[in-house]
Each structure stands twice: as C-alpha cells, then as structure tokens.
C-alpha cells in the first residue's frame, strides 16, 4: 500500500536527506499552492489527533517538528492523490486526511511516539488509523523496530497489496515517491477511467445555475474560490464543492452543492450575482453536457485570411503570417496599414499616452506604407529603417508597404472571412512582389463553401496531397471526402477518395460556364484562362473579362440572357439616374444594366448607381399629339422623324415616352420619344372625336360640300383652357380673377388669384382675361383673345360667314389662336415653326414642308380635315391655296365649313390671283383667317414664281405683298376685319352653293381686284371634277392636248400652273394650258410633246426642271404651262392629288381601284383613314420617285 511504502521509505529519506530548510521551503510552497482542505470531519479529527498525538509528540523535539511538518505536508498530498486506493483499503479517507500539520506539531510536541503506537494498538481495529500509524512510524522509524504483530500483519498485508500492482506501477510509484521533493506527482489513475463512467449519479451533488452579470463570470469564480477558502476554517464553512462557468454560456455560473442553501450562502454579498432569480437546479442529465460544450475552434493557420475586429482596422482583411496560438495566443498578421497622413496637431505624438484613441473618429484610408510620405509628415526620426528594407514606425514593422503585427487572437476573426477578389488583389498588388501570395490561400478561406458547392459530375482536380494532379468527375460528395473517378494517372478509371479541400473545380479553356456566386453572379461566358483557383471568363454579355473563383463557377450551357429577370431590376424597368433623369433598362448584362435615359443616351451602369422607380405603370399618362391619352402598353407611332412605332414601356413626367419595338434593332428595340410627337396607331385615337367615326361625314367632306351637315358641336378643347387666366363675370365671385386649372364638362376649376382656393365655376361665368391689357374676352374666343386687338365683341362671329362654325372651332382653330399656339407647340415639338402661324414674319423664312401638319392639322378640332391637312406633306398648298396661311387653322376650318367650296375656292383664288399677277388686291375673305399671312401672300406672287421649297408657292409671296395684310400678325385682327366685311360685300359666290356652275368668266374681275383675278367662287366646285371652273376658260387649250388623260375636260379645271405646286411628280409635256399665253402653244415646237418627264425642281422662273424618264440624261426646263399631270394607269401606283378641296389636294395615296374614271385609294392607316378616298383621275398625278 502506498501509504505504507511512503511510511517506510520517505520518512527515512526525508529525515536523512532533506535539510530542514528544504522542507520548510516545500511547506511554504505547498501552502501557497495547495490550500488546506476544509474538512467537515475536522472537529472529530481534532479530537482524535489530540488523543492520539498526545503520546506521539512526546519524544519529538521542536526541531523535529519542522521536518515533520514538511513530511506531513507531502504525505497529505499523497493522501489526496491516492484517495481511491485509500478507499479500497477501507480506510477512512476523511479521517486520515484530517491530520493537519498545524495541529499535529502541537500533539507531537507533547506526545511520545511510543505512546502513539500504543494508542494505535488500542485502536487498531480502526482501519483509518492505519495511515496515522504509518506517519508515526515515519516520524520515528527507529522506534518502529519494536512493532507488534499487528503492525507486522498490516505491513504484510500492504505489501501483498502492493505486489498486486504492476511492476511498472510500483516502479513509477517508487520513483514518484523519491522524486517527490522536487515535483508534484502525476497521478495516472485518474485518467484511466473512461469518461462515460464518470457520468453523474444520484449520489452526486447537484449543480445550480446562477444568473450573473455577463463578463463577470471569471471574476466571480475567483471570488467564490477565495471566499470559500477564507471561510474554510470558520464555524460555518461554505458547503459547496465546486463552481464553474463556461465562455459559451455568458451570464451564468454553475455551483455544485447539495442544496440551494449553500449556494445562496456563498453567493450572497458578491457583486454581479443576480440573486433575484433563485439558483436553478440543473437536471442531472444536463450536467455532463454543460462541461462538454466545446466551441468550434478557430484554427488559425498561416496563409489564412482573417479580419480584424476592433480598432481602426476593424473589418480590414489581414493575412496570417505566423501563428503562436497555443502558447501566446497571438498571430502575426500582414495587412494594409491605415496611417494617418494628415494628423491634427501632431496627434500621432500623443499616441503613446493616448493609445488607440489616436484614430479619433476619422479612420485614415487604407493604403500601403510609403516611406516618403510618412517621413514628410512625421519626420525622418520617426521611422527606423532596418537592413532588409523594412521600416519600423511607431512601433510597428512595415514590409513592402504592409504592416506586420502580432495581434491577439481575440482581436481577429477567422470565421466567414470570404475575402473578395478586390481585397485580395490589393494584397497581391502588382504582380511581381506579391504574386507569392498564392490565390489558393484565398480560395482556402472560401473553401468550406467550395466543398458543399461540388456536385456529382463536376470535374475536379486534386491539387495537393498524394493524388496531386489527378482529375476526374466527382462521383460522390460527403462533407470532407469526395470520390472522384480518376481520368489520368495510374489509377485511371478507378474511383478515388480524396479530401474535399484538396480539390478544386477544373475547367477547360473554351468551356462555357456560369458564375454562381460573387459580384459577377449570373454572368456567363467562356473560359479563357484558368490560373489556380481563379477562372477568367469572357462574358457573354458585356464582352469583358470576369474573374471568379473556380468554386463559384459551374459549367453551364445557358447564356444569361437579357430577358431574364435579374436581381432588383428587370428588363424595361424604369430606373432613376437622378431625380430628374429617368431611364429604362434595355438590357441586363449580368450584374450590369444597360439603360437608356430620357434623352436617348445609352449607358451601362451598375444596379447601385440607379434607384428603382416606383411602379407607376398603371398611372403614367401622357397626351399624344392629338391630345389623346396614352398609357403604358399602348401602341404608338411617331408623327415625325423616323416614324418609328412601338409599345409604350413607360412614361416619365408625361413628356418622355419610352417605347419598345421588336422591329427596331438599335438599342434592343427601345427608343424614347416626346409624348407630343406620338400618335396612336390604334383606332382609339379616333374615339375622342365622334365625327371621325362617322364615315358619312368623312366621305361627304370632300365631295358633298353642299350637303355637309353643320359641324358637330364639339366642345372646345377644354384642355386649351387650362392655365388660362380668367375673370369671373357672374355669381358671387364676380370680378375675381383666377386661372383655370381643370375643365370638367361645363365647369372649370379655377384657382383663385385672391385666396388660393380652387373653385368650380361654370364656364359660362368665366371670361378670358388678358393679364397685360386687362381686357376680357369670351372664353371660347380663345383665338380672338390672342389677337393683338380684340375683335369687336363676339358679334363679329355673326357677320362673319365663318361665324357659324367659328364658335365650335373658335377655341381651337382660329388662326390667330394658332398664331399663339402653334409656334409654341412647334417649339415644344421641336418641329419647325409654322411660318403661317408665326404670322407675316414667318413667310420668308418658313420653309416648313408642312406648316400645317403640326399646327392646324394636329390641333384642329375638326380632325377629319385637320388631319388631312396636317398630313399633307409638301402640300402646304392646302393651306397655301387657302389664302389664309393662318388658315392652318383656318384652312382646316375652311375645309370643314359648310361651304367647302370656299375652301376650294379660296384655295384657288389666290393662286389665280397670283397667276393673274393681279395686284393681289383680292378682298380675300380668307385673309381674315390668314391675318397677315394670306393677305400678304395672295397678291404678292403677282406672277412671280414661287421659290418656296416648302412647295407652297406662297412661301415668298408675302414678301412683296402690297396688301394691308402684310401687317404683322398682331394686327391681323384688324386686317381680318376688313376682309371679313369685304368678303361679304364682294359679289362673290359666298352665297352661291354652286359657284362652279356659274360659267365664271375667267376674265371676270374680282371685286376689288381690278385685274384678272378670277372670282373666288369659281373653282370652288364641290365637285371639282366636272366643274367648269374659271380655268375652263382656257379649255380650248386643253382640247388639243390629247394626252392620255381619259378625261381631259376634267383636267381642264387644273390651273395651268398646277405643277408649280408640286414636285417629284410625273408630268407630260403638251400644249400650253395657259390661257392667253404669250408663249408658243407647244414647247420647243412640240419636240417633247407627250414625253413623260419627272419633274424634280423648279429651275428658274416658272420653269420646272424636268428629267426625261426614259432617258435621264435629257433634261429640260419646261414652263409649267406645258406640263400636265400623268394620271395613274393601274392600281398600286403612288399618286398625289393635285386638284380638289384643300383637304384633298396634296394628299398622297396609292391607287387601288378604278371605277369610271374615279380612283379609289388605299386608305391611309397612319391617319386613321377608314373610308378610302375617291378622286377623279384628272385630279391625280403620279408621283415620280416614291
């Protein structure tokens, strides 16, 4: 038995070998390291010891006591360690342990050892005394020679037991015993028992969970330890057995005791313990797990990427250079420093005292250490340069610009680091120096995902370990091990298991892959380079190179298409570049968006550069050029420009419309247009105007002027009224001024100028107010309002023949109004201004090919005409004929007037006037509408030829016009009045519904025009076809013209100079049609007669420059009087109407069907024409080059 051995051997040694001093030292040490045990049996022992020791101590001197204490001390430790053995012996461990050296010396001092032996004899049945005996024997081995039988027996027994131990054990034990003085004995036995046998049982103390302040756990444990220790000798020692905490269970302590009372007792008074919640008993089955919890270790290895947790480098990436994990708990890190190169007041100098407070709130940018820079700021002395081009600054070492520093492990985090390529590339920097940092290290950091990202079938290669170089498809995947089917090497064809972290995905150059993760997620492309773990691919979308970790890449056949929804933005989503700029995604390229902004500019942005616009597709509305609403999804068409059509994707600010067309290749079919330049291609556009839906009405217009119904009483375009300054003329609000904000039916919502309220007021109670002059006009006379001078009240409508239609149109059409509006509109549309609308001044410069298109056409409330007029490209003549250029509006109006003959008539009149070269004194009624324009122009031509490229011969007409109408537009009204009356007084055909019937003498002077101006009424025949027009006069000339015109007489009502109004038409040369011409009857004596020419341009004077169709080299300048139109001969020919009412003339169509000399045209879908136009062949001319 060990104790016995100890008793037999060590005391001898101790006595003989250990000097007292050594023993004392030992004791001290032991006392410090091994605090006394507070033994519950202490009291009993005390008694025993006292009793037992009384004799034992007798023979011992004081000096002996010292030694004895030392020995006892050692002995006690043995006792504790050999506790189990003691138990086996049946000895009472507690009692034996109870021997306390502090007491014992007292005993020994007075007791004889012999007596102790005697005592033992007396009590030898107490097995527990056995140890004591041994000790006493140790104390005085000499005396033991006289031991009795009992002692011998005991000795024998213990020896026998000792022999039962293995030899090695004995040796070890002996050795330990001998080495005892120098070292604490390692007790191997405690490690022998398997852990499972140590599970708690019912007899074990309980664990109590106590709530404490988080972070104070360790403090409290030590406090408890000290408290228990200091109380162990008190009357009420704390009866707890142990206490512990776990890092993973913050805010908790666990105290082991046999009841809650001792726990409370020991914890009472400790700061940081929350005794408000009573100690909670831990169930027995949960006790072991409490101690088994193991935090997942962060195994930090060199080369790993970590992030720093605190300080100014918080979040920064660092690479582990070396690790001293176990021993010092630090890791050598390499990272990019953040050196404050703009220190305030030498802040850096305070760093020593201030510690980490240096950074303040501003974190210096992360950049490589640059000696020069730092020296400039901090001075040369601050930096120490070492041999190998490393610098020491501020206590840190810098190598190659990086900072090398040892950081405590608790300041760094190795979990979930996932360095991005960008970050790593900063580390790698320029290739040379830093390429040593192999990218596999990065991949290592990301590897855990890599393994789980492997799927059977993926091709992988082994890049480290024994199987390095092996590659093949993955067969199975487990957490750490994957099986691959080797494709090369000795094991080809076999299935090999390799650690998953040793493999990486393998890609061949040219493979098509897709990126699964990372910033370029969802990009796809072709592999162009593979370097280690980094795959470079050429993107399918943007033709740029993308680098990605191979673990993030998969082989994929699909191309990340532009049509797929990607992330936050979908194709055709509207995004905002800034608060004023909207754009539409026209393509999604991986992570990038290709967008087109409202100005049509295309660029590529990343999603974070734009903000999503809230989905307003359901509400976005804009007005098209007809004033109709368009919404997202509508099919629209441009009215100008490229005439593109498309579906509305989105509308921004009711101005910018994004459209998409599959037929447009540019910009993936997306384009931007202004809302005002669009027109609906669906019949919906017509829905706003019932008159347009009425085929009867429409068909009537060109032909049956006489039967025309009164113009529909359409409401004035209410939108026109919006923002009109008004004054209230009736009701309680009378006299107040305001601005119309909205029109609803017959009521308007008026924002009062006085009190900022919005009131709803009848339109009839409102009058337009000219804010400058203060004059008021009726609302409906919006046009009039624009006149510089007001008409004399509304009454003027009554005397104006147009008055009857004026009211309906008044709001919209009247020329003056246009004068005001159209230019504005034109400006808005970005189209050329309407010269006519602009007034007199516009004549000279107004080269717009279709002045009315934008203005009158688009706006006129008589859409039928308006549209017609508006569509007349090159045939400004419609208006041009109408003497009133203002007629843009008026022409439309005229066109629709119940007396269409006016239109025609008027249209011709000036022409004629011009032809006649008359002074242009014609009291052209239309001058009214035209204001300055028409009047000015009418007389102006005076036979001079019209160079207007706009095809309107009036283009320059106004220039020399000696008429009063040349007055600036602002005076138009004044001028207008005059003709208004004039026209009435004129003995002209106004009242005559059949003016055409009248054999209007061609030479009949128009009233007021002394010259040869034909009567205005003459040509106006609603059926211009057969109408014997004034031009009929020269009919004789027509007769000889045996052209291929089937209906020569019909053609006869063509003015002789018709050709001057057109170009790009086919003409046939024939006898002059000009009445009274002074030229020869035949051009060049008929040499070119009946030849067909293309008429390109006007060369000089009145002579169109013609090119012989059959031989383009033959050209001739042929005076217009010799030219006659080439009529269509077959369906499908492009023609232009060269004669007819204003709305008709100038129209281009394609012939479709011939019926008795009447051609039916293909309806023009673009203007929503439903009823085909029917025109007599004589009024048609084939277009030369369509």
């Amino acid at each position: 038995m060990s104790d016995d051995e100890a008793g037999n051997s060590s005391p001898v040694r101790a006595r003989s070998e250990s000097p007292a001093g050594t023993a004392e030292q030992q004791r001290e040490k032991a006392g410090r390291k091994r605090p006394r045990v507070a033994d519950p049996d202490e009291d009993d022992d005390m008694g025993d010891d006292t009793a037992n020791g009384s004799g034992a101590g007798n023979g011992k001197g004081r000096a002996d006591d010292e030694d004895g204490e030392g020995d006892d001390d050692e002995e006690e430790e043995d006792d504790e360690e050999d506790d189990e053995e003691d138990d086996e012996e049946g000895g009472d461990g507690g009692k034996r342990k109870a021997k306390k050296r502090k007491r014992r010396p007292k005993k020994f001092r007075f007791l004889d050892v012999e007596a102790e032996v005697d005592d033992e004899d007396d009590e030898d049945e107490e097995a527990d005394d056995f140890a004591d005996v041994a000790e006493f024997i140790e104390e005085a081995p000499e005396e033991a020679s006289g031991r009795d039988d009992v002692a011998h027996r005991r000795l024998d027994r213990s020896r026998g037991e000792a022999q039962m131990e293995s030899v090695e054990e004995t040796v070890a034990r002996l050795k330990q015993r001998y080495g005892r003085g120098q070292a604490a004995k390692y007790d191997p036995d405690s490690d022998q028992v398997p852990q499972r046998l140590l599970m708690p049982g019912n007899g074990d103390p309980n664990l109590f969970q106590v709530r404490v302040k988080a972070g104070e756990e360790q403090n409290l444990i030590t406090k408890i330890f000290r408290k228990v220790f200091s109380n162990q000798n008190s009357a009420n020692p704390f009866e707890i057995y142990s206490a512990f905490y776990r890092n993973s269970l913050p805010g908790m302590l666990f105290v082991e005791a046999r009841g809650a009372a001792p726990v409370l007792a020991v914890l009472t008074g400790l700061v940081g313990v929350f005794l408000s919640t009573p100690p909670k008993l831990v169930p027995i089955e949960e006790m072991a797990p409490l101690l088994k919890i193991k935090k997942k270790d962060e195994n930090i290895q060199p080369g790993m990427w970590v992030r720093m947790k605190r300080g100014k480098y918080a979040g920064d990436l660092a690479q582990v250079i070396d690790v001293d994990q176990i021993t010092n708990g630090v890791a050598g890190l390499k990272f990019i420093p953040r050196i404050d190169l703009t220190p305030r007041e030498k802040r850096s100098r305070d760093k020593g005292s201030n510690g980490k407070a240096l950074g303040g709130n501003v974190r210096p940018p992360s950049r490589l250490f640059a000696y020069e820079d730092v020296r400039k700021i901090y001075g040369r002395g601050a930096i120490r340069q070492t041999a190998t081009s490393t610098y020491v600054w501020d206590g840190d070492e810098y190598v190659d610009g990086f900072c090398l520093k040892d950081l405590k492990l608790n300041l760094i985090s190795a979990e979930g680091v996932k360095p991005t390529l960008e970050e790593v590339s900063r580390f790698t920097g320029d290739e040379g120096e830093t390429s040593r940092i192999d990218l596999s290290a990065i991949a290592d950091a990301n590897r855990d995902i890599g393994a789980s990202g492997l799927f059977p079938g993926d091709k992988v290669e082994v890049y480290e370990g024994e199987q390095s170089g092996l590659y093949g498809p993955v067969v199975t995947v487990t957490i750490d091990v994957i099986a691959i089917k080797a494709m090369n090497g000795d094991v080809r064809g076999q299935i090999i298991e390799v650690p998953s972290r040793s493999v990486r995905k393998r890609f061949e150059l040219g493979e098509h892959v897709k990126v699964l993760n990372g910033p370029n997620r969802d990009a796809s492309g072709m592999v162009v380079d593979v370097k280690g773990d980094v795959v470079t691919l050429m993107s399918d979308q943007g033709e740029q190179e993308i680098k990605a970790f191979s673990k993030d890449v998969r082989k994929a056949a699909d191309i990340a298409g532009g049509s797929q929804a990607k992330g936050a933005f979908d194709l055709h989503d509207m995004v905002m570049l800034d608060s004023a700029t909207a754009a539409v995604v026209i393509k999604v390229e991986g992570a990038m968006l290709r967008i087109m902004d409202q100005n049509g500019a295309v660029r590529v942005v990343t999603p974070h550069e734009v903000t999503a616009r809230r989905d307003n597709k359901n509400f976005a509305v804009a007005q098209d050029s007809n004033g109709n609403d368009m919404k997202v999804g509508d099919a629209m068409k441009e009215v100008g420009g490229e005439n593109r059509s498309g579906e509305v994707l989105n509308i921004f600010r009711s101005i910018f419309v994004f459209l998409f067309s599959r037929e447009i290749l540019d910009n993936f079919g997306v384009f931007v247009a202004r809302a005002q330049l669009l027109i609906s291609v669906t019949p919906k556009a017509a829905a706003n105007d019932l008159s347009k839906l009425n085929p009867m009405l429409q068909s009537q217009l060109p032909y049956g002027g006489a039967s025309l119904m009164a113009p529909p009483t359409t409401m004035p375009n209410k939108n026109r009224l919006i923002n009109t300054p008004v004054v209230i003329v009736k009701g309680t609000q009378k006299g107040l001024m305001g601005i119309i904000k909205d029109v609803q039916g017959e009521k308007a919502r008026v924002e009062m100028a006085s009190n900022n309220k919005v009131l709803t007021i009848d339109l009839t109670s409102l009058k337009r107010k000219d804010t400058r002059t203060g004059t008021t006009y009726p609302l409906d006379s919006a046009a009039a309002g624009s006149f510089g001078a007001p008409r004399p009240g509304g009454g003027n409508y009554d005397i104006n023949p147009y008055g009857q239609m004026a009211p309906p149109n008044g709001g919209a059409t009247p020329a003056p109004n246009y004068g005001g509006r159209t230019p504005g509109g034109a400006a808005r549309f970005g189209q050329t201004p309407n010269p006519y609308a602009a007034g007199a001044g516009g004549f000279g410069g107004g080269k717009t090919p279709n002045p009315y298109a934008a203005g009158a056409g688009g706006r006129t409330p008589a859409p039928g005409w308006g549209a017609g007029g508006g569509k007349t490209p090159g045939w400004a003549g419609a208006g041009g004929k109408t003497p009133a250029p203002g007629a843009g509006g008026y022409g439309g109006g005229g066109g629709k007037t119940p007396a269409p003959n006016y239109g025609g008539d008027g249209g011709r009149t000036p022409a004629w006037a011009g032809a006649g070269g008359g002074g242009g004194k014609t009291p052209n009624p239309y001058a009214l509408g035209s204001g300055s324009g028409a009047g000015g122009r009418t007389p102006a031509p005076g036979g001079s030829m019209y160079q207007d490229p706009g095809t309107s011969r009036y283009g320059n007409g106004g220039l020399s016009a000696p008429t009063p109408y040349t007055a600036p537009p602002t005076q138009a009204a004044v001028a207008a009045q005059t003709p208004a009356t004039t026209q009435y007084s004129a003995p002209t055909p106004y009242g005559a519904p059949t003016p055409y019937a009248a054999p209007t003498p061609y030479s009949a002077p128009t009233p007021g025009v002394g010259l040869t101006a034909p009567t205005p009424g003459a040509g106006a025949g609603p059926s211009h076809n057969g109408a014997p027009t004034p031009y009929g006069a020269p009919t004789p000339y027509n007769a000889p013209s045996t052209s291929n015109q089937p209906a020569a007489p019909q053609a006869s009502d063509l003015p002789w100079d018709w050709a001057l109004d057109f170009r790009n038409v086919r003409v046939e040369v024939g006898p002059s049609t000009k009445a009274g011409t002074r030229n020869p009857l035949h051009f060049q004596r008929g040499a070119l007669d009946r030849q067909i020419f293309g008429y390109a341009d006007i060369a000089e004077g009145e002579s169109p420059h013609c090119i012989l169709l059959s031989d383009p080299t033959v050209t001739a300048d042929i005076p217009a009087e010799y030219l006659r139109p080439v009529q269509p001969t077959a369906p499908g020919q492009a023609i232009i109407v060269i004669n007819g009412p204003d709305g008709i003339k100038g129209q281009q169509r394609t012939t479709e069907y011939l019926n008795e000399d009447q051609w039916m045209m293909v309806p023009d879908q673009s203007v929503g024409e439903v009823v085909p136009m029917i025109v007599g062949g004589g009024d048609l001319c084939r277009i030369w080059q369509s």
């Binding site: 605090p35 070292a183 604490a184 036995d189 140590l198 360790q218 057995y241 082991e256």
Partner: protein, 109 residues
C-alpha cells in the same frame, strides 16, 4: 477567446490555471513530474496554453462530481477546456507512468 485579466495559462495535462510566472517558479502543482516545467519558461510555454475555456474552482475534489468528471484531483482553479497538445515527451512520460494522456480539449462521451 475568454476575456482574461492576467493571462492565466492552463496546464495541458491537468488544466490547472496559473499565470506564467507561477508555472515557472513552482511548476504544475499536479503533474510537475511529467511536465517538468519548473524553471524553464520555454517548457512552460510548451506545456501550457492560453487557449482555454471556462473556469472551475474546485473546492472539494473528493466530493465534487465536477472534479471527478474533469479528472481533477485537488483544489484549485482549473479550466474546463484547454486547447493544445503537450510535447511528445510529456505524453510519453505519462504513459510510462501507466497513465493515459487525455486531451483537455477533446469531446468524449
């Protein structure tokens, strides 16, 4: 990492917690004969670890189940877990004494 005030180190064999100078001056109170680190700082650093988790104050090693479970035989402050592996000679010394080296870090059932 445990927030530790004074960088206590844990013996890799018995998990007792002391600071480094205590280990250096006195060795490990439990297993000095196998680790033999007294007087050698290098040895101390080898055989002890700063990576430990949880602290136990063992007061009654004989009675305490916690001490039994943790195989702690004497009073003192111990760590619940210690990360690290002692030098091979220590492991050899343990087995030469008939013991079994049990990692203070492993999770057993």
């Amino acid at each position: 990492m445990a927030p530790r005030k004074n960088d206590l180190r844990a013996c890799l064999i018995c998990s007792i917690l002391q600071d480094i100078s205590e280990f250096n001056d006195d060795g490990c109170p439990n297993c000095e004969d196998v680790v033999e680190m007294k007087g050698s700082l290098e040895r101390v650093i080898e055989c002890t670890s700063v990576m430990w988790d949880g602290m136990i104050c063992v007061i009654e090693p004989q009675e305490s189940w916690v001490a039994r479970w943790q195989r702690i035989g004497s009073r003192g402050l111990y760590a619940v877990r210690v990360t690290g592996v002692p030098p091979q000679d220590v492991i050899d010394a343990i087995s030469s004494k008939g013991g079994v080296y049990r990692s203070r870090d492993a999770v057993e059932d």
